[in-house]
């Protein structure tokens, strides 16, 4: 896969105009995650109401992959129920750990499938996972019941 294909327009568009960015109230929990090896940082807030994610807001600094990934994630998960959100987390992670050979389901991951090209660059996978991992942490801190298999 060429570098042009990896940096699909979807990724560059989200990077240049992040969706749902900024920190908002109310929220159930706020977390701060970093990539120690490269310095990417995110502060992320999750608001839940029963079994529904009512808002994901964030301030993030880092590369296009980490920024676009959190933007796509917020699009996908705001308004979704937590169980299905965690199922999507697993689907996204499976794709990212597939070394570029596991295409995502476009009906499920929508713009998220653009990251399949990133999955062949192991050093960048954690960039794509940064926002997702932060969200999972925030949901747990906000009191959501998450299955023990995911982490």
């Amino acid at each position: 896969m060429s570098i042009e294909a990896m940096y699909q327009d979807i990724i560059l568009d989200h990077y240049h105009e992040k969706h749902h960015a900024g920190l908002r109230e109310p929220y159930g929990a706020e977390v701060h995650h970093v990539n120690p090896s490269c310095g990417d940082e995110i502060t992320l807030r999750a608001a839940i109401d029963g079994d529904t994610i009512t808002d994901i807001s964030y301030e993030a600094e880092g590369c296009s992959i980490s920024q676009a990934s959190v933007s796509v994630m917020a699009d996908l998960l705001i308004g979704r129920d937590i169980t299905d959100s965690m199922a999507l987390f697993e689907e996204f992670r499976t794709m990212m750990e597939g070394q570029g050979k596991v295409p995502g389901d476009e009906d499920r991951l929508e713009d998220g499938i653009a990251f399949v090209g990133v999955a062949q660059f192991p050093a960048r996978v954690k960039c794509a996972m940064l926002g997702w991992s932060a969200l999972r942490d925030a949901l747990a801190r906000a009191g959501a019941e998450l299955s023990p298999t995911a982490q």
């Binding site: 560059l12 880092g62 296009s64 660059f121 960039c127």
Partner: protein, 416 residues
């Protein structure tokens, strides 16, 4: 006459392709490539002379010991140490700095001060933070000026180096800014108040003629893998009298004299600081590396580095979307050139350049406080070495222009 193409013939990796393009390796401040003679020396040692050192009494043991100690002598000669006993082998510069911080740090007490700078690599910061936490000493630091040099005026105004100062530990050349620090004059200030001067030479010893004894340093550390040697071997040089009074760092085999259950006495330097089986083959490789560098001539290596660095700076000055951190003049400047590119994050830039065969580093380069001081999170860094050509630099500049276009959309718009 320095012939870079003859030098390149010694480095097989430079002939390979990356992503279908000629490799342009500009990450030598991270680690240098290795010439065939270094790899050959390591191979020769393992295949024909391998044994443990000092404790094996047989023929191979004697050969391995001789090769290991001969490498120590070569390194001593390379930096003009007073003798081989002033050379301590460690696994890298970080371990050497931890050795310094632990042994010198054992003398610290509340009220004492240790001085570093904001431009230090984490290796020359965290060990001193730990030493200060253990002892109650205070860590202070030099700030930098707008053009990326030590802010000597501010340091003077603050009385940074004063009667409380026990240790000053500075990098000789910044791994990010390229700045070469005035080690001699700061060492004079340190010595005037009775402090010990520690110098991190990781970025300077590989690049320039180096006389440890004349430098002003009391302890000088550097690492093998940035100077054509193997990974896994670092060096701590210390003035003989200072090493003699320092306590051990790690305990174990070979650093002892007499061991009883009730207590032990310790070997004299350098073995006092070399517990356990040392990096034997790596030392042999480093010995071959300093022979190689000395054969090329460090004055010529330095002149080449300066020429290449000047060309990088000149090329970057021609692109208005690139901002160089650190000195843009060659005076007192080493070979690391860090920079930011408008609209392109360093990781993305690194990846785009890699897709054209150009290897640079993106991130905080193990100098997060420096980046914070400069108000940025990360940067990109290009660093050449004795095998870098003008064509390599030109490829970098062209590829930077392409990457900026690609990322800011100009290339994509043109291709529609």
């Amino acid at each position: 006459m320095y012939d870079v193409n003859m030098v390149r013939a010694d480095f097989p990796v430079l002939d390979r392709e990356v992503s279908g393009h000629r490799l342009v390796y500009l990450d030598s401040a991270n680690t240098s490539q290795k010439p065939r003679c270094v790899v050959g020396a390591v191979e020769e040692h393992y295949l024909h002379h391998n044994a443990n050192v000092a404790r094996a009494m047989h023929t191979l043991g004697a050969e391995a010991t001789e090769a290991f100690e001969e490498a120590r002598g070569k390194v001593a000669g390379f930096i003009n140490a007073a003798g081989a006993e002033e050379i301590v082998f460690t696994k890298n510069a970080s371990e050497a700095l931890n050795l310094a911080a632990n042994t010198l740090g054992a003398r610290l007490a509340p009220g004492d001060e240790v001085v570093v700078s904001v431009m230090e690599h984490h290796s020359n910061l965290v060990p001193w933070q730990l030493a200060c936490q253990r002892t109650g000493a205070r860590l202070r630091w030099f700030d930098i000026t707008e053009d990326g040099r030590l802010d000597l005026a501010k340091a003077h105004a603050e009385g940074l180096i004063g009667e409380r100062t026990k240790i000053v530990s500075l990098t000789w050349a910044s791994n990010v800014l390229g700045t070469v620090n005035p080690i001699q004059s700061i060492a004079d200030q340190a010595h005037a108040v009775g402090a010990v001067m520690v110098v991190d030479g990781s970025q300077w010893v590989p690049q320039a003629p180096c006389d440890a004894r004349a430098s002003g340093a009391d302890i000088l550390v550097f690492t093998g893998h940035k100077m054509c040697g193997p990974t896994g071997i670092g060096v701590l040089w210390g003035r003989g009298a200072l090493l003699a009074e320092l306590p051990p760092f790690l305990g174990g085999g070979e650093m002892i004299e007499i061991v009883r259950m009730e207590g032990s006495t310790y070997a004299p330097p350098p073995h006092r600081f070399e517990a356990g089986t040392p990096p034997i083959a790596q030392a042999v490789g480093l010995g071959a590396a300093v022979d190689y560098l000395a054969g090329l001539g460090m004055a010529d290596v330095h002149a080449h580095e300066q020429e290449i660095t000047a060309r990088i700076l000149q090329g970057m000055a021609s692109l208005d979307f690139i901002h160089v951190m650190g000195p843009t003049e060659m005076a007192d400047r080493g070979g690391a050139v860090s920079f930011t590119v408008d609209g392109v994050h360093p990781h993305d830039l690194m990846q785009l350049l890699d897709s054209r065969g150009v290897a640079v580093r993106g991130g905080h380069h193990c100098a997060a406080p420096l980046h914070r001081r400069l108000g940025i999170q990360s940067s990109s860094r290009a660093s050449g070495y004795l095998y870098t050509t003008k064509e390599d630099v030109d490829a970098l500049i062209e590829t930077l222009d392409w990457a900026h276009d690609f990322f800011t959309g100009r290339t994509r718009l043109r291709s529609l």
